[in-house]
């Protein structure tokens, strides 16, 4: 027990002293999230541009009223309104002269909806002038629809991808320790292999928890991601997911002799998963012939499980399939990792 705790503590110390490892574990997922989140994550709000030609009480009243509508930009034009409309610089043109009001709109859909807004505004201006009370006055409520914004999809996807990449890397790190002779030296002590590997896994689990907190917090604070599920129930899924990818990494470490070979093998494993396992877009959007392949990718079960909990609030009890799939990967790769485990490079 003392050996296990000391190993975990020293692993963490080493982690915080290794800038490259820190970068890949924490900074990279954050940067990735910011990059993709900023590019595609936020749904643009309403924005429209109305041009007004003319002057007088009507024009100033209209400009004032339209100014109160969020996302609406109003410009008073001296001339050239039709040209601006045709060129797409404005969505709707209102021309007022001698109590004659013309409204010009185009066949663009924004123009159609903006013209309705302008007409509605003019209508309420009329009622105000007539001092007529409003008979029908609906109160507007806005309800957020869960799972519709891209960030809701992306955040759990990036979390799954991060767990995969860092889990695989942490598993293959055994190669470095082996080629440096550290494993051989440790083997000369009474320490059991199980405790050594167990401490490695534990360290990576702690890292995974921090990664999850970091990614979900970033998504919430910056991109208005609102998780609905019980976030504590993420922990068992994080653990089984991390285990699955670490055992794949340990297996690779057993097969490959150098870190370079391991990196190549890791890419063979991780690249298809990045693009086919529902990280950036749903599996349902994949071409039909690839879908069966996507079904056997371990990451697919991790992302779908994470997404189910975070976005849809699914309880753990209903994620049996995802758990079973990841547990199977862990058992099979764990068996292979043990079978191929080597303390040192083969004698030449």
């Amino acid at each position: 027990m003392r050996a296990y705790l000391t190993l975990v503590r020293m692993n963490l110390k080493m982690l915080f002293r290794a800038r490259d490892v820190l970068f890949w574990n924490f900074a990279f997922p954050v940067l990735f999230m910011v990059l993709i989140g900023t590019a595609f994550g936020t749904t643009p709000g309403f924005s429209a541009h109305v041009g007004v030609e003319g002057s007088g009480a009507f024009v100033s009243g209209l400009v004032q009223a339209l100014h109160h509508i969020k996302g609406m930009k109003v410009s008073v034009l001296a001339s050239g309104g039709i040209e601006a409309l045709k060129a797409g610089h404005i969505d709707v043109l209102v021309h007022s002269a001698n109590h004659h009001i013309d409204l010009y709109r185009t066949n663009a859909s924004t123009s159609q909806s903006v013209s309705s807004i302008v007409l509605g505004t003019v209508m309420s201006m009329n009622l105000q002038v007539l001092h007529q009370p409003l008979l029908f006055h609906p109160i507007v409520h806005q309800i957020s629809m869960q799972g519709t914004s891209y960030i809701d999809f992306l955040a759990p996807g990036i979390l799954g991808m991060t767990l995969m990449n860092t889990g695989l890397f942490s598993g293959t790190m055994l190669i470095t320790h082996r080629s440096q002779g550290i494993l051989r030296r440790i083997r000369g002590t009474p320490l059991s292999t199980g405790i050594f590997i167990g401490a490695r896994i534990t360290t990576q689990m702690l890292i995974a928890l921090v990664q999850a907190a970091l990614i979900l917090m970033l998504a919430r604070e910056v991109y208005h991601f609102t998780p609905v599920g019980n976030l504590w129930s993420l922990i068992p899924l994080l653990i089984i997911g991390e285990l699955a990818f670490m055992t794949i990494g340990f297996f690779i470490a057993g097969v490959a002799n150098t870190m370079e070979v391991a990196a190549a093998l890791t890419n063979i494993v991780s690249l298809p998963m990045m693009f086919l396992a529902g990280v950036f877009y749903p599996i349902s959007q994949l071409p039909r012939f690839i879908k069966p392949l996507a079904q056997i990718l371990p990451l697919r079960y991790l992302t779908s499980g994470l997404r189910a909990i975070v976005v849809h609030g699914t309880s753990l009890a209903h994620l049996g399939n995802d758990f079973m799939a990841l547990a199977m990967v862990t058992v099979v790769c764990g068996f292979l990792a043990i079978k191929f485990f080597r303390w040192e490079m083969p004698h030449v």
């Binding site: 000391t6 110390k13 550290i182 051989r184 009474p190």
Partner: protein
């Protein structure tokens, strides 16, 4: 007292090549034993068998009374090892490394006292990656002592070190012996074996060719001195009965009981009108023992 190490007819093969070929060895408590041999002699394999890192194909090996094959955990708990070219975790400090390795044993010794005794106290906060080769080797030696072992294996503790660093390691090894521990070390430096060892074991091709104190080995296998001459009119010495060997303008004469023959050599040269510029008499070394036993030099 039972021997600390007992090896009987040990055979170890790697892919059909015999690294240990029916080797037997007994080591008693408190000795420093140097295993001397060229690369590939099987020194490291022998050590790894005794450390529980490799298993014998045939034969028997007991360390501190335990069978290393079946009771390797018991053995590992009680021995100290320093491997050939070991690395430790680069990003841990010396003291953290000692703490980590100490945690692997049931009864580690106090690491602060250990660091003081091995001259590492000043370096305790330094990262392993920033240590020199000699300092790293001292860390390796300190870690070999972390469990306060009665028996210590050092595999080529000074290979690749400069002479000053080598001296430091030597004094550390002497100190370890003074504490009553048994030390088994491998080396291919004969001066190291001569300086440190109570007993020298000469190995080649997986077998022990000879063992004993340095004095015994010299007496048994290299009871001769070498006369090195250089001068004028001495060429006749390469012929019988003198049989000198010429090499690079110098004449070499390997001769037992030189004191009996020096007189007749000098009077012979005088009578022939030869002239001596330099005369050197070299004592035999373990190198000569090795040459005699194998027909090859230790360091090529």
């Amino acid at each position: 007292m039972a021997p600390v190490i007992e090896v009987i007819n040990a055979v170890k093969e790697f892919n059909g090549v015999r690294a240990l070929d029916g080797l037997s060895l007994t080591v008693n408590s408190g000795q420093v034993v140097a295993i001397l041999g060229p690369n590939g002699a099987g020194k490291t394999t022998l050590l790894e068998i005794l450390e529980g890192l490799q298993r014998l194909n045939r034969g028997e090996a007991r360390v501190l009374g335990y069978d290393v094959g079946r009771e390797s955990r018991e053995v590992k708990e009680r021995i100290g090892i320093s491997l050939q070219s070991t690395a430790f975790f680069d990003r841990l400090s010396v003291e953290e490394t000692a703490e980590l390795f100490g945690s692997f044993f049931s009864h580690p010794q106090d690491r602060r006292a250990l660091l003081r005794n091995t001259g590492l106290w000043e370096l305790r906060g330094r990262r392993v990656s920033r240590l020199s080769g000699g300092q790293k080797q001292r860390v390796a030696l300190a870690l070999a002592l972390i469990n306060d072992p009665r028996l210590i294996f050092l595999d080529e503790p000074t290979t690749g070190l400069d002479p000053a660093a080598r001296r430091e390691i030597w004094s550390l090894v002497e100190r370890i012996q003074q504490e009553g521990r048994t030390v088994i070390l491998t080396t291919h430096y004969m001066e190291e074996a001569a300086y440190l060892a109570d007993n020298v074991v000469i190995m080649d091709q997986g077998k022990i060719l000879a063992e004993g104190t340095v004095a015994q080995l010299l007496r048994d296998y290299a009871d001769q001195q070498t006369v090195i001459l250089d001068g004028e009119g001495l060429d006749y010495l390469t012929e019988p009965p003198w049989n000198f060997v010429e090499d690079n303008g110098q004449l070499f004469w390997h001769v037992p009981n030189l004191s009996d023959q020096l007189d007749s050599l000098l009077s012979s040269i005088r009578s022939r009108g030869g002239k001596i510029h330099h005369l050197v008499v070299q004592e035999a070394t373990l190198e000569d023992v090795f040459l005699r036993l194998t027909g090859r030099r230790l360091v090529s």
